[in-house]
């Protein structure tokens, strides 16, 4: 799937359009609301609390690069957090064992998604839509629709209580994952193969790339990252509820696509993703801190997505030939 039209050399303007817009936003809110907004605390909490969204968005860009959609990540996040809560709180498993079980679930779900997709030759969108619905049912079932709290303090400590430079460790885990993913995508042949498969499936196949394996791997990667996001979710909130994770799916998609307009325009890339997440979060937080009506935040979200992507396309040399 080619995300944006055109190709070729990237203009600097476009690469830095989004970081620039982010800066402008910060300056704007800084002027409007200097005492509250321009404090270290604001940025510390902003960075710390949105680590879950960032990791979930990273999960999405792996299969997106390989040309597949994963709509089940929200459900995997929810189930992962719920499994940790149930195993740790109700069954008394040690926290590391509960985390391992959740990650194993992520891996398994990704594997099933991938196998169904490749073996039956069904579009990833349908497979993961079905799988996400199925997992939602399972989560309701195992949790009995209830919120479960009281997850081990070790996890909570290591996710959100411990800080570095005033920012919760969760942020650094997320940034670490960004860096790892960036390295994999740019500097390993496994990562390049993801891109090849995403852009030319037959070509890759005839070049000796095991296309099916790469696609299954991408879905396993996304599910596992979503399970990691679930671990962070359980850690930041100390508990789990059966539905709210799925609400993160659309914001994550928005951030993934917005991120693909920046740093390496036209490609889903981890740093662009991180900037997109924090650009959107900054806008929302600034509005929240000013006590602005909630619907304005939603207007900002939608509007920012449209305007940012549109501008980044304008700043791009227009290329006459549309790619099919």
């Amino acid at each position: 799937m080619t995300l944006l039209k055109g190709g070729g050399r990237l203009s600097l303007v476009q690469r830095i359009a989004l970081p620039g817009a982010w800066l402008l936003l910060i300056i704007g809110f800084g002027i409007a609301n200097p005492h509250v907004f321009l404090t270290p605390a604001t940025f510390q909490t902003m960075f710390g609390s949105q680590a879950v969204l960032l990791v979930l968005t990273l999960a999405l860009i792996v299969p997106l690069t390989a040309g597949d959609y994963d709509l089940s990540v929200g459900a995997v996040l929810t189930l992962s957090a719920m499994m940790i809560a149930i195993l740790n709180v109700q069954y008394g498993w040690p926290i590391w064992a509960a985390i391992m079980a959740a990650l194993a679930m992520g891996l398994l779900v990704g594997f099933l998604n991938g196998i169904i997709m490749v073996f039956f030759g069904i579009e990833s969108l349908i497979v993961t839509l079905g799988m996400g619905t199925l997992l939602g049912g399972i989560t309701l079932w195992v949790s009995n629709s209830a919120t479960i709290s009281g997850i081990s303090h070790t996890l909570v400590d290591w996710v959100i209580v411990k800080r570095f430079g005033g920012i919760s460790l969760a942020f650094f885990y997320a940034v670490g994952l960004c860096a790892l993913l960036w390295w994999i995508m740019e500097y390993t042949s496994v990562g390049r193969r993801l891109l090849f498969v995403g852009r030319g499936r037959n070509v890759s196949k005839l070049s000796g790339v095991r296309v099916g394996r790469v696609r299954v791997g991408a879905l396993m990667g996304s599910s596992t990252l979503a399970a990691v996001a679930g671990v962070l979710y359980a850690g930041t909130s100390g508990g789990a509820d059966p539905t709210s994770g799925t609400n993160l799916l659309l914001p994550a998609f928005a951030a993934a696509f917005l991120g693909a307009t920046s740093i390496m325009p036209g490609r889903f890339n981890p740093w662009g993703t991180a900037i997109a997440v924090y650009f959107l979060v900054t806008g929302i937080t600034g509005l929240q801190l000013m006590g602005i009506q909630s619907y304005v935040q939603q207007l900002f979200y939608g509007g920012a997505l449209l305007v940012a992507v549109a501008l980044s396309q304008l700043s791009r040399r227009r290329v006459p030939l549309d790619n099919g």
């Binding site: 070729g8 070509v203 890759s204 000796g208 790339v209 095991r210």
Partner: protein
């Protein structure tokens, strides 16, 4: 004689690339006009301007049947102006049915409410009968063989071409075997005789000489010459197109081949359209496989590479034996095989990625140092390789889609030859490649075989096979019916063997 099409001072710039500059071209009524030029010289671009696909730069003029037409043309305008096209990539939608593709133009520009599929199907069947092609209107184009697709595109264009209109054929013959080419030529002459003009693009000068009345040659987007075909020799044409003269090539003899050791031994292969094939490819030789389309030779490279399924058979490559049923592209690549497929945009190149990405798909791992992929090194290396193959422009960061078809083909050759395979398989390696580049590709293949590589070349272009192959296997009905070596490797004998009506497969004369 009146001009059907008159173009003055037409220009087209893509970003910084001047694909066309100051082009003047006239096609007269009843004339078959050859449009010649190297890869990337702008032929298809001109055609796409006429189709309303590209918007030309300001300043050009276009006259159709003497009437000035305002540029740029909008998509679909061509229809009212009486133009019909067979585009270079045929212009078919492969996931749709033959019927839908046949009426693509009608539907694309029409305002019909209440399409009468049944009567359209009747019309389609009549057309196919009239033009003697066997096509099922409800078959999906993706299930057709390349020849059938080409025929569909040709029937569509020819049947719609009006009197005093213009028929544009952009390399229509690359997919066609000899007899279909003949049929196309007859059709084209009929159309011209009816009063229409024909613009015919081909890299095959033989065809150009036989079919066209006049010609125009492009080089780097400019017109460098035109004239009457009869009064121009083949050599003169080549010189106009390439800018210099071509060298002759020599073949190895049967004895020379026998003296080398076999690199790949294929035994009892069955699968696809291949009924039975056993043969060997020797060190340092270029082995051609050919036949009529449907005779099975096109399937051979794909089966050997594991991209199409084999039923039985083994392949011994450098002594190690694999069962072909279990073959897949990855293991084939790892065991030292390479395949340059014929369908470039689908199977060959990833057009949306850079030339660098395409060339380095397989060699990437060599640039991995510890955890880091050294990309500047990759770029330098790619630049070197591209200049060795004379890819123009030589800029590895360009997206592959902005190269012309021929240059894309050179990139693909570069990509695979870099991996130093012991068996290189090519399918129509010079498809859409101009005479100059064709020569370059041949010489690259030659120098690679000089280092011991074996080449299997599947092609229906008999002249090409004659030019580059040391030995040629001819297929009929899924079996090898002839093996030609030495002086027998010439266009006439290859054609004769391919078309021989003799049904009893006779093991060949020269073996």
């Amino acid at each position: 004689m009146s001009a059907v099409l008159q173009i003055n001072n037409l220009a087209k710039t893509f970003g910084g690339v001047k694909a066309l500059q100051g082009v003047d071209l006239t096609v007269n009524a009843g004339e078959i006009h050859g449009l010649l030029g190297q890869n990337g010289s702008g032929k298809s671009t001109l055609i796409k301007v006429l189709a309303g696909f590209h918007e030309p730069d300001a300043g050009g003029r276009l006259l159709v049947n003497g009437n000035e037409v305002r540029l740029p043309l909008a998509p679909g305008d061509y229809k009212a102006l009486g133009m019909r096209f067979v585009h270079q990539d045929l212009g078919l939608i492969s996931s749709l049915s033959v019927l839908e593709n046949l009426f693509l133009d009608e539907i694309s520009t029409g305002h019909s409410a209440g399409i009468r599929w049944r009567s359209w199907r009747r019309i389609a069947n009549e057309l196919f009968r009239k033009y003697k092609v066997e096509l099922d209107p409800s078959a999906a184009v993706s299930t057709l063989r390349p020849v059938e697709r080409a025929l569909l595109a040709i029937v569509r264009a020819v049947s719609g071409a009006p009197r005093n209109g213009l028929l544009v054929l952009d390399e229509p013959t690359v997919f066609l075997p000899q007899d279909d080419t003949e049929m196309l030529f007859d059709l084209t002459r009929n159309v011209a005789a009816g009063g229409a003009g024909v613009l015919f693009v081909s890299h095959d000068l033989e065809e150009v000489k036989r079919l066209t009345n006049r010609f125009t040659v492009f080089r780097d987007g400019r017109v460098v010459g035109n004239g009457a075909t009869e009064q121009t020799s083949r050599e003169e044409l080549v010189k106009l197109i390439v800018g210099h003269e071509l060298k002759a090539v020599s073949h190895r003899s049967a004895a020379q081949i026998a003296a080398t050791k076999p690199i790949a031994v294929i035994d009892g292969l069955k699968g696809g359209l291949v009924a039975e094939a056993s043969f060997a490819v020797h060190e340092g030789e270029i082995l051609g496989v050919t036949g009529l389309s449907g005779s099975g030779f096109e399937d051979l490279p794909y089966i050997l590479f594991g991209a199409a399924k084999a039923e039985t058979g083994t392949l011994a490559l450098n002594g190690s034996v694999v069962r072909l049923r279990g073959q897949n592209p990855t293991s084939a690549f790892r065991s030292g095989m390479a395949l340059v497929p014929a369908d470039r945009p689908r199977d060959g190149a990833i057009l949306s990625l850079s030339v660098l990405d395409n060339v380095s798909m397989q060699t990437m791992d060599q640039f991995q140092k510890g955890p880091i992929l050294r990309r500047s090194r990759m770029r330098e290396e790619a630049k070197k390789v591209l200049s060795a193959f004379q890819v123009r422009p030589n800029d590895p960061t360009l997206p592959c889609s902005s190269l012309s078809g021929g240059n894309q083909q050179k990139v693909l050759m570069a990509k695979w030859l870099q991996t130093r395979p012991s068996l290189l398989m090519v399918h129509e390696p010079t498809q859409g490649v101009d005479v100059g580049a064709r020569e370059e590709i041949f010489s690259v293949l030659r120098s690679a075989t000089a280092e011991g590589m074996a080449v299997l070349c599947a092609s229906s272009d008999h002249e090409q096979l004659a030019l580059i192959c040391d030995r040629v296997l001819v297929f009929r009905q899924g079996r090898i019916v002839a093996e030609l070596t030495g002086t027998h490797v010439n266009k006439e004998e290859i054609s004769e063997q391919s078309y021989a009506v003799d049904q009893d497969a006779q093991p060949a004369e020269a073996s």
